[in-house]
């Protein structure tokens, strides 16, 4: 029961963060590049959940984020699967508990995204990306890493309040 509640709270947080990025950010800061606020929750689940749980969150993220972009679901799914594999390997090779590793993983994930998008676009699309939004992505990566710290605190609090203790013990959170 707690697992479902935890998943629902994370999904709600994800929707709020996506809306904040696509709507509120634009209304307050106009065209200034926005942080990719939808990625940290996904990365959090990649790092601190078992792979099946992470994959569940991966699909949910695709459905939630995919509804607010012109990027096809299939391509978004492919990119996120590759990011999941990348973060999984990063976790396997180097891992230390705490927020700094989470920030590093977020930075890694968000850095992978535009490269994978660009590469897959050229591989699979008839009208691929011609002008990569480099400036946008650089600002976006920095802002996402900056925002990932308070988000880590928020996610930790959510986990502390509504997550089965055995799960937290397994991930070394308790």
């Amino acid at each position: 029961m707690k697992w479902v509640a935890n998943l629902l709270v994370f999904c709600t947080a994800q929707i709020i963060l996506i809306s904040l990025q696509t709507s509120l950010w634009m209304q307050v800061l106009g065209n200034f590049p926005a942080p990719q606020l939808w990625l940290p929750a996904f990365i959090y689940w990649c790092l601190y959940r078992r792979p099946p749980e992470s994959i569940a969150m991966l699909y949910l993220t695709v459905f939630m984020a995919g509804s607010l972009t012109a990027l096809p679901y299939s391509l978004l799914l492919l990119i996120l699967v590759l990011i999941f594999i990348g973060v999984f390997f990063l976790k396997e090779r180097i891992y230390w508990s705490g927020s700094t590793f989470y920030m590093l993983a977020c930075g890694f994930g968000i850095l992978l995204f535009p490269f994978l998008h660009f590469a897959l676009s050229w591989l699979l699309e008839s009208n691929p990306i011609h002008d990569p939004e480099l400036f946008n992505w650089i600002i976006s990566i920095l802002l996402t890493m900056l925002f990932s710290l308070p988000l880590y605190r928020l996610f930790s609090v959510i986990d502390h309040l509504i997550r089965p203790v055995e799960g937290r013990k397994r991930e070394g959170i308790v």
């Binding site: 996506i18 809306s19 990025q21 696509t22 709507s23 634009m26 209304q27 106009g30 065209n31 590049p33 990719q36 939808w38 984020a65 509804s67 607010l68 972009t69 012109a70 990027l71 535009p114 998008h117 676009s121 699309e125 009208n127 691929p128 990306i129 011609h130 002008d131 990569p132 939004e133 946008n136 992505w137 976006s140």
Partner: protein, 297 residues
């Protein structure tokens, strides 16, 4: 007691009381001529001046201090008032600009035969590589997939995802966007695709089609999405490959999508045609839609 007997002591007192003031009056009358009282008067004057200066100084300093306190208070009040007025002014300016924009939209809506629905831009795409916007109108308001989105000055894009109360518009500059378009002057026809954040390109134009820099690109109306002859953009470059049978042209859209705030969705175009009567005469002039609005305003 004898009537004529005089008490000299009393008489002296009476005389002193009566005579001394008389003498004083007399002395004052003669003071203009100076005399013995002049030094006293000078010293008194000086003393008075000193007191006056001192008193004036004290009063001045006290007043200045009190004024400063008052000025400080007034200044704080004025700063606060100024900030409030600035905020009000900003709000008024924003309202005025919004009013102007809405007036323009309303004028356009009244002028045209098309059935239009005004919508407000409430969001943009999740990823910087894609150019879409979210509007506050959905299927509950009669929106359907592939309806055209435009502003007074030109075409914006078309509806590609519809929810109950919101919809996403695929802008002309998005890579996934493709609409049927023609060169206004020569009537050469091609497909306009999104290319980058600021540019589109027109493909499948025949090599011998007459296109030059600065030509106006308008909607063909053949895709049943846009009304015919609605402005899209201007040709910025023409590329003809050495052996190809087609040519590619770059187009700068008239609408800067990053500044969009309100748009129209075409619910029914009623076969509205914005094409000029003589396309050759209209070729290098301003868009018909813009003219229509100008006439309205």
């Amino acid at each position: 007691m004898n009537f004529f007997s005089i008490d000299f002591k009393k008489a002296f007192v009476v005389l002193t009381v009566v005579v001394i003031p008389l003498l004083t009056v007399n002395m004052q009358r003669n003071s203009e001529s100076g005399g013995i009282l002049e030094p006293f008067r000078w010293i008194s004057g000086l003393t008075q001046m000193g007191y006056s200066s001192f008193s004036s100084g004290v009063r001045g300093t006290t007043a200045m201090y009190l004024d400063l306190i008052d000025i400080k208070k007034t200044n704080l009040n004025l700063i606060k008032e100024n900030a409030e007025l600035r905020a009000q002014l900003g709000s008024m300016t924003e309202l005025q600009l919004e009013n102007e924009r809405l007036n323009q939209l309303l004028g356009f809506k009244q002028q045209t035969n098309m059935e239009l629905l005004a919508a407000k831009v409430i969001g943009k795409d999740l990823l910087p590589e894609h150019n879409t916007i979210t509007i506050n109108r959905g299927s509950e308001h009669g929106l359907k997939k592939n309806m055209a989105a435009l502003t007074v000055a030109g075409a914006v894009g078309y509806v590609y995802k519809v929810q109950n109360y919101t919809s996403q518009i695929l802008l002309l500059t998005d890579r996934y966007s493709a609409i049927d378009a023609i060169i206004q002057r020569s009537r050469a026809r091609g497909i306009l695709e999104g290319f980058s954040r600021e540019n589109c390109r027109m493909r499948y134009l025949r090599r011998d089609d007459d296109v030059v820099d600065g030509d106006m690109i308008v909607t063909s109306g053949l895709d049943n999405i846009f009304p015919k002859g609605f402005p899209i953009g201007m040709v910025t470059s023409v590329k003809k490959s050495e052996y190809g049978i087609t040519q590619e042209i770059e187009v700068q859209p008239i609408i800067n999508a990053s500044n969009l705030e309100e748009i129209f969705v075409v619910l029914n175009s009623h076969s509205e045609d914005f094409s000029p009567v003589d396309p050759n005469a209209q070729g290098e002039s301003e868009p018909q839609a813009a003219k229509t609005v100008e006439q309205t305003l």
